[in-house]
């Protein structure tokens, strides 16, 4: 059970307040900061809405990359520590040279690209739009 309104709606209301009521009152650095603050609210709103799916996809992809298919522990909603744990394992394997070349490197780069794009949809969707325009 949750309370109404959900976090993303509440944050959008804060962002709109900053954009429409606070920003016009400010100039220079403070004005810029109000834009940054509104944007930060929207990042958190998107993260709140998308985090469960993001972490689950990370757990699935990382297990596959690390050759741990079928060993995935059950997901605990709201807990991303097992994705972080797998991420740290991946970093250790990278440092040991497990992905220096060949197919494992290709697979790693493909997964990293997909993962970073998923995180960009939360953090900076405009960046992905610019990429799409550039590639045309």
């Amino acid at each position: 059970m949750k309370d109404y309104p959900p976090a993303d709606e509440l944050l959008e209301a804060v962002a709109a307040f900053l954009d429409e009521e606070v920003k016009p009152l400010l100039k220079g650095g403070q004005r810029f900061k109000s834009i940054v603050a509104a944007n930060a609210c929207r990042v958190v709103a998107r993260e709140t809405a998308g985090k469960t799916a993001l972490v689950e996809e990370q757990r699935r992809g990382l297990s596959e990359l690390l050759g741990k298919d079928g060993e995935l522990p059950a997901a605990v909603p709201g807990d991303d520590s097992s994705a972080d744990e797998l991420g740290r394992e991946l970093c250790a394997a990278i440092a040991e040279g497990a992905y220096d070349q060949g197919r494992s490197r290709e697979q790693l780069l493909a997964w990293l690209r997909a993962d970073v794009e998923a995180r960009l949809r939360i953090n900076d969707p405009a960046f992905l739009e610019r990429n799409a325009r550039r590639d045309k």
Binding site: K33, R119, R130
Partner: protein, 372 residues
């Protein structure tokens, strides 16, 4: 590090974001003004007549970042014309950038080599009245905002002039014979790759100070690739270390000064060229790799024409990958510094969420390396 940090310009703000994390200077501006006046009089005593008549005007904050803050002030000297000056003061607890003394020495070196820099007058220690190390230099008029440079009609001629000017500044800097001691330890040994390896090691160490256990596989993969592919440097030169749009002052005609020498060190001249190609200083003008201004090959050509060394496309790519990786580390450090003050700062904290865009660029560049 002034890096993007106090390249307040690069953050598109005037740096007032640091208001809440006030430094020693800022806590009592009037006292700092009086201390600075005392200091300048001491420096001038015996060198110029009327040192006692020197008067320091009000300190006005110009910009600032995690390691440094910048104030403008007027220096009145009796009947002589008033001079506009700049005070660069450390913030307490700064970490991996050069000391103010090193930056001062490098700035003088660069000036001698014919690089367009503000003249640095005096260097003060923490015991000289402000409680932190600082230096005083000439004020140079101009802007350092990338967005304005690339989008404002007023700067159309500047955009035309800049590529050759940037290449020329770097060629002159890299031709300097650094006579003084250089900041940081010069890597020991005779492995010609030691300069690149030392740079990778330095920023790996900087990243390790973050004390977070957030895994960053894209950054770790880049660090690994950089270690394995470190280029040889036979003739190391004085490298600026943060030569990019945001640290270059310009007016309607072109470049007016090269700022922010805190990351200067001995290394590969191609390091400065690659750093100029990092995507974050294109401000969305992605068709021109060099700060949204020109192509990579044009930069290499102009650098060569200005007397710079031959730099291969491979070398440039290595340092562009290094630059994106280093920028990601710097963004994380800035985000971490948001927690360091008395109150967290949203502007600094939000910089951490720019890292995925830099990771994307890194993955893309590394992918291209593999497919060759």
């Amino acid at each position: 590090m002034e890096t993007g940090v106090a390249g307040a310009a690069s953050r598109g703000s005037d740096g007032s974001g640091a208001e809440l994390n006030r430094s020693v200077v800022e806590r009592d501006l009037e006292k700092s003004q009086a201390a600075l006046q005392e200091f300048i009089r001491r420096q001038q005593a015996g060198q110029a007549a009327g040192a006692d008549a020197l008067r320091v005007g009000e300190l006005t904050r110009l910009s600032g970042g995690a390691s440094c803050e910048v104030y403008g002030f007027d220096l009145h000297a009796g009947d002589e014309p008033t001079r506009a000056m700049v005070l660069r003061a450390d913030r307490p607890g700064k970490d991996f950038s050069a000391s103010r003394a090193d930056e001062y020495a490098v700035l003088r070196e660069a000036e001698q080599a014919g690089v367009t820099v503000p003249h640095a007058h005096w260097l003060g220690s923490a015991d000289d009245g402000l409680g932190v190390p600082f230096m005083v230099m000439d004020f140079v008029p101009g802007l350092a905002l990338g967005q304005r440079l690339l989008r404002d009609d007023a700067y159309a001629s500047t955009r035309e002039a800049l590529p050759a000017q940037l290449a020329g500044e770097l060629a002159r800097l890299h031709a300097a014979a650094p006579g003084h001691r250089l900041p940081g330890a010069t890597p020991a040994g005779d492995d010609p790759r030691r300069f690149a390896l030392a740079a990778v090691k330095q920023w790996t160490a900087a990243a390790a100070t973050l004390h977070t256990d957030y895994p960053r596989p894209a950054l770790d993969l880049a660090a690994r690739w950089l270690k394995l592919n470190a280029p040889s440097v036979r003739e190391p030169v004085l490298v600026h270390g943060d030569f990019r749009i945001g640290n270059i002052m310009f007016d309607e005609r072109g470049l007016t000064a090269v700022l922010d020498w805190e990351l200067a060190h001995l290394g590969d001249p191609a390091e400065d060229l690659g750093w100029l190609c990092v995507r974050s200083w294109r401000f969305g003008c992605d068709h021109s790799a060099v700060g949204g201004l020109c192509t990579r090959s044009r930069l290499l050509e102009l650098y060569r024409e200005a007397g710079g060394r031959a730099v291969s496309a491979d070398q440039l790519r290595y340092w562009e990958i290094f630059g994106n990786w280093k920028w990601a580390v710097i963004c994380l450090l800035q985000a971490a510094s948001a927690r360091a003050g008395s109150r967290p700062d949203v502007e600094l904290a939000a910089i951490g969420r720019r890292v995925p865009a830099v990771e994307w660029e890194l993955v893309d560049l590394l992918d291209r390396e593999q497919s060759q």
